[in-house]
Symmetry: C2
Subunit: 183 residues, 2 copies
């Protein structure tokens, strides 16, 4: 149940509409969690029923009305409970379709797999490039927060991203080399 908690975390920074949450999600949490717009709206509904949020309609003219969500004390309590949960094990599970394909790649030509790995590497390098700008994005956003401490944690997840992508590039290069030797 992490999408709900991600949304709680974002709403804890300030009130937002579903539309704004969707965008905020995509610029911040997207590296380690992906969510569809439609799912966000559905989860917000469910969370309001659970009284983790309350909403307020803000009329607009010419545009659809905005439905602004605010986190409740119950929601904040839930967020903290989730953050403080001691049991790590489930949180470490990772699903990686790319690796699953690699596992079974004896079924396709070596040259095709090498090609896939090269595209993989290129993609990782592109993502790294994009990530090199997160530093300034973080300090831009961080200015609006009362709790400046957040920036340290945001930066640490960005660092994870950089370490991860560099590791993937190295692994791809090593694997390509191994495959070129046997082909």
């Amino acid at each position: 149940m992490s999408l709900k908690h991600g949304l709680l975390g974002l709403l804890n920074y300030g009130d937002m509409t579903g539309y704004e949450l969707d965008k905020a999600f995509k610029v911040s949490l997207n590296f380690f969690w992906q969510a569809q717009t439609s799912q966000i709206y559905r989860e917000l509904n469910a969370m309001e029923k659970q009284a983790w949020l309350i909403s307020q309609i803000i009329p607009q003219t010419g545009k659809p009305n905005r439905k602004l969500y605010k986190i409740t004390d119950l929601g904040r309590a839930e967020l903290k409970k989730w953050l403080s949960k001691k049991d790590l094990e489930e949180d470490l599970n990772v699903k990686n379709v790319f690796l699953m394909k690699m596992f079974f790649s004896a079924e396709v030509n070596v040259s095709e797999t090498i090609d896939t790995l090269k595209r993989y590497k290129a993609q990782c390098l592109g993502d790294l490039q994009a990530m090199s700008q997160t530093g300034s994005v973080i300090s831009d956003y961080g200015q609006n927060l009362e709790n400046k401490k957040s920036m340290v944690y945001w930066a640490s997840t960005a660092t994870f991203g950089v370490y991860y992508l560099n590791m993937c590039v190295k692994w791809a290069e090593d694997t390509i080399k191994t495959l070129e030797e046997i082909s």
Copy 2:
């Protein structure tokens, strides 16, 4: 739709029952994909309806009968189609609850987060220890295959695991250091 394809991939090595697939899954694909036993049985049913598999009941006495699955030509075609799909982007998406919690950790005490990171590191080191034995496991299993090439790919995914866990350990250490400085 990766569980189905993982099961196809395993059945491509040889006929198995749901029970055996469950165990095979947990010793091979578990690092990058996790599946519940009940889900495996359900997916096998669905796959048989799609004619990717056929099954055969093998009566036993004293034990429940075995339901042995065999991949069909249609199933093999589907496996290859999935493996050859050129579009990488979706395959690179990764969901990581641990990082999402880290992102919002300004809400909990720094000391608590440092403690969590230490347990994270310990867990990674434990997993690394466990992974150091995969080399021999791979060559044991590989002996039974006609297609020995598989071992190279299995080994490459295991290498990814080792690189990944080492990277996580380094990141945890760096992050602990950063947090200790600000606290």
